[in-house]
């Protein structure tokens, strides 16, 4: 069914062979990335609305450090759909059984084996790009959905940089998400108490199998398998079996079996089953007479059994030593389960699905395979028809030359810089284009690519200015400049953008009043404090001196000025009256300033309300749901004494992040009005690649597990 086309291993890129460098070799990264202590494998985000979500804390395994990878995993907060019927779209999957299939065997919860679930995902699986989709079991507990409110944006989180606008408006921080439920895979954790021969007994732990029969012939073979099949998204899957019986050459077969293979036969005898036998050391792939493969095994031995979904071969280990690859085309079209068969009385085995550390160094083995797959990808030429979005099957392969690749890269970089308004970088970048390149033929990729510099500079600067105005809260300037240079942006969609900006303006006005009120309160408190202090410290000469010299006014001023920076979470426009008070020479200034502040507050509040009423009036006939909704949310903030502290949906309107998001939206709208894409090509490239790889992973293409986009491209 699934055909494989060979991947050329030769490089025509003309670069020096890169075999000497592993892609994981240490290299200094740009900066320490504290925010990335945990990251979802392909960058998933649950599509389900947050309101529908529940929050869970899953016991993800602490990352056992491997030699090439020192990042640590931390328990994370995740979100998953509370409504299991809510799956807007099933992933396309030719092997649906590997994805949460409600099979009969699964409908009976494995409660009796609950002790076997107390282990962590084995560390070798951290090599898979889909590691976070590989679950040992479904979480058995849930938390009511109202908990989620506290997980909304925290307004106090302040980016220090001025370049903090971020395109990921719809993307929550990485460490708060779980892949959508429809993508997760369950790992084998124990023997199934259902899917076994009745001569086999499964221990309480679910790890041991013992043969209960009396006879000793082929007819009395008895096999068992696990509850869940092996997800190919593992890339490589591995388990170990310890032989606890007494025979030196055990009549045991260790291997894999598909769904529906007879339990009265040893793995390897039947179609869709594969096994390594202890009595003769032969490998069996649906055959009665095996092929000579490895040593015999028996009592006390630990046999490891692995399947490599990148090569579709299996391998075995004995007491920690690698025996070698075996079997061809295994696990290509059907789901496979770890399976063991016994046929002599007294035989007992105990399995290790990651319950304890493995005898064989599976971590390095998997790492090697991962590097091999990644290096294979890196030696591939870049295909021009892919870059232009054409199907390779119709156009054939056309390899890009070095210069052409360079042209594509330069364009990706340039359009990205222009998109985000990095004007100085753009100028420097263009100036540094070597003449060789400029003189290159420009047919395939460079045609109309580089916009002329002069006009572009101004354009970028203007756009950056507008965006920064929004980020700093100066909505009026943003509106004015946009109106002047990009009137279409404000008008489009029936003035929707203008509406959004005006709503933000209202928010800024309200926040201003909140700050004023806070200051008045602080002022009153400090005065009350002082009054108390005055009364207590009546005899204190020094204090009298101070009072005589009118120091209190300064004190007030200091109080006013010093409280503000700590309580204002971001640069709200400074209040004019603050300074007037500070310079007031009058000894009774404190009373005046207090009154003054109250009057100012009153005025600001009136201004805000008037603005709101005008806004309300202008849009009263607009019945679009998103307009109504934003309107409601915007006016709702008035109900809070301090909207910035309110959290939840209020924060989503007033927070600094909300400003940044709005700024970004405006940037995209301006770009769109100029006929440019809303997202830069570079970002699209990343998104497309990640989506392809995820799709491959859910379709059971094992190699995709070792093409880890976020690890290879973003982290190393």
């Amino acid at each position: 069914m699934t055909s494989h086309i060979p991947i050329p291993a030769t490089s025509s890129s003309g670069r020096a062979p890169s075999t000497s460098r592993s892609p994981f070799s240490s290299r200094s990264t740009f900066s320490s990335r504290s925010t990335l202590s945990s990251r979802s494998p392909l960058g998933f985000r649950s599509s389900v609305a947050l309101e529908n979500a529940i929050s869970l804390t899953l016991p993800f395994p602490p990352h056992r450090s491997s030699s090439a990878d020192h990042r640590s995993f931390e328990p994370r907060v995740i979100r998953a759909a509370s409504d299991s019927s809510h799956s807007p779209c099933q992933p396309l999957n030719s092997r649906s059984s590997s994805i949460l299939r409600p099979a009969a065997s699964q409908s009976i919860p494995s409660v009796q084996h609950s002790t076997s679930l107390s282990f962590l995902r084995p560390s070798y699986l951290e090599n898979s790009a889909f590691r976070q989709l590989l679950l040992l079991e479904q979480p058995l507990y849930t938390i009511p959905s109202r908990k989620l409110d506290s997980m909304h944006t925290h307004p106090s989180a302040l980016p220090a940089s001025s370049d903090s606008d971020d395109d990921s408006t719809a993307t929550p921080p990485r460490d708060t998400v779980l892949p959508p439920k429809e993508y997760s895979f369950k790992l084998p954790t124990c023997w199934s108490d259902q899917d076994r021969h009745n001569l086999l007994n499964v221990s309480m732990s679910g790890r041991e199998l013992s043969y209960q029969g009396t006879s000793c012939g082929d007819k009395d073979a008895a096999a068992a398998r696990t509850i869940h099949p092996i997800p190919p998204a593992c890339g490589i899957y591995y388990y170990e079996v310890e032989i606890l019986g007494k025979e030196h050459k055990s009549h045991i077969s260790i291997g894999f079996a598909g769904h529906g293979v007879k339990f009265s036969r040893l793995p390897g005898w039947e179609p869709n089953s594969w096994g390594y036998h202890g009595d003769d050391g032969c490998s069996f792939a649906a055959e009665k007479n095996g092929t000579s493969y490895g040593p015999t095994y028996g009592a006390g031995d630990i046999i490891g059994c692995g399947i490599d979904f990148t090569s579709h071969r299996a391998f075995f280990t004995k007491n920690g030593s690698f025996i070698g690859p075996v079997f061809e085309n295994i696990g290509k079209d059907i789901d496979l389960y770890p399976s063991v068969g016994l046929q002599h009385a007294g035989e007992i085995i105990r399995v290790n699905f990651g319950h304890e550390s493995f005898k064989f160094d599976i971590d390095s083995h998997v790492q090697q395979q991962r590097n091999a797959v990644w290096n294979k990808i890196l030696t591939r030429p870049i295909d021009s028809s892919v870059l232009e979005g054409r199907s390779m099957s119709t156009t054939g392969k056309t390899t890009l030359s070095d210069e052409q690749s360079k042209g594509v890269l330069n364009k990706l970089v340039l359009t990205y810089l222009v998109h985000h308004g990095y004007a100085k970088t753009v100028r420097a970048f263009q100036k540094q284009q070597p003449d060789v390149l400029a003189a290159q033929d420009t047919d395939i990729v460079m045609d109309d690519t580089i916009p002329e510099t002069g006009g572009m500079d101004k354009d970028i600067e203007r756009r950056t200015r507008i965006v920064n105005s929004v980020i700093s809260g100066d909505i009026d300037s943003a509106i004015a400049e946009t109106k002047k240079h990009h009137p279409v942006v404000l008008q489009s969609e029936d003035h929707l953008m203008l509406f959004k900006l005006r709503c933000r303006k209202f928010v800024e006005l309200i926040l201003e009043t909140t700050e004023m009120k806070k200051r008045i309160k602080t002022l009153k408190e400090s005065r009350a404090e002082k009054r108390r202090y005055d009364e207590i410290g009546n005899g204190d000469g020094e204090f009298w001196m101070g009072e005589e010299m009118g120091m209190d006014v300064d004190d007030d001023a200091v109080g006013l000025m010093s409280t503000s920076p700590t309580t204002i979470p971001y640069n709200a426009p400074p209040l004019r009256n603050g300074r007037e008070k500070a310079v007031s020479p009058d000894g009774k200034g404190k009373d005046l300033s207090s009154v003054d502040a109250a009057v100012q507050y009153e005025m600001a509040l009136n201004t805000a309300i008037a603005y709101g009423q005008e806004l309300s009036n202008d849009y009263k006939s607009d019945t679009r749901p998103e307009v109504r909704q934003l309107f409601k949310q915007t006016f709702g903030i008035v109900a809070w004494e301090d909207p910035l502290e309110a959290g939840g949906s209020v924060a989503s309107v007033v927070s600094y992040e909300a400003r940044v998001n709005l700024a970004n939206e405006l940037n995209q709208a301006i770009l769109k009005s100029q006929g440019r894409p809303a997202r830069p090509a570079l970002e699209m490239l990343y998104r497309q690649t990640a989506a392809c790889l995820l799709q491959l992973g859910t379709m059971g293409v094992g190699e995709a597990a070792f093409a880890d986009i976020s690890r290879e491209i973003l982290e190393s």
């Binding site: 000497s20 979802s40 030719s94 870059l387 364009k411 490239l685």
Partner: protein
């Protein structure tokens, strides 16, 4: 064989939307490109504008670029001196790279028509190395055959390409990569890896499903005709 499943355009768009990628991530990809490809002043500006800590000191970018420029204008001698100034071990420990530079020098001599000089250089410097490895020898022979053609245009493509700017770029690229490696810096541009990953991923997925392709050059999704 059953027909390939199709992923509807809206569904695909949703998947793209769900991918997690931040501007900071992308900024670092850009910085990686600017540094490795040697856009020193652009890297400096970007470090400022994007508020991104530079991964290397900018001076090292400059010296790498001086070497590259020397090779691109054909001054191999200058390039070798500069590489050795930077770190003599680079050429000492990398005979293939040293041979590549010597070969380039020979090419430049031939290009300039300094035939006797070229012959002398080949005999004294390159021939002994050719004896060391069959690979070197075959490259040497290829280079020498340039002399057989009076006008380079008459030479077969496999030989005349030695005189192309691409050959200079190739040599410059190899030297650049070796220097980066000596600085324990990545020498593969991440963006190139990303493009290759896309090619690989789309190729595999194309065999299994219909989905919306991306025109990377335009940065837009192609409206494929779904059957």
């Amino acid at each position: 064989m059953p027909p390939k499943p199709s992923i509807r355009a809206e569904e695909w768009d949703r998947r793209l939307q769900e991918v997690q990628i931040t501007k900071n991530d992308l900024n670092r990809l850009i910085m990686d490109y600017l540094v490795i490809e040697g856009y020193k002043s652009a890297a400096e500006e970007f470090s400022q504008e994007a508020n991104l800590a530079p991964p290397v000191d900018f001076e090292s970018i400059e010296s790498r670029m001086d070497i590259r420029e020397a090779l691109q204008r054909g001054d191999v001698e200058d390039a070798i001196i500069r590489v050795n100034d930077l770190n003599p071990e680079i050429l000492d420990t990398n005979p293939a790279l040293y041979f590549r530079l010597q070969q380039q020098k020979l090419i430049e001599l031939i290009r300039l028509g300094r035939i006797s000089e070229a012959l002398e250089f080949a005999q004294e410097e390159l021939a002994p190395r050719g004896e060391e490895s069959p690979e070197f020898l075959s490259e040497l022979e290829r280079t020498m055959s340039l002399l057989a053609f009076e006008a380079s245009a008459a030479a077969p493509a496999g030989i005349s390409e030695l005189l192309s700017p691409a050959q200079r770029m190739k040599t410059a690229g190899e030297v650049n990569a070796a220097i980066l490696e000596s600085l324990s810096q990545g020498n593969e541009v991440k963006l190139v890896g990303l493009l290759k990953l896309l090619c690989w991923g789309e190729m595999l997925l194309e065999e299994r499903a219909e989905f919306r392709k991306l025109n990377v050059v335009e940065g837009s999704l192609v409206d494929s005709v779904l059957v």
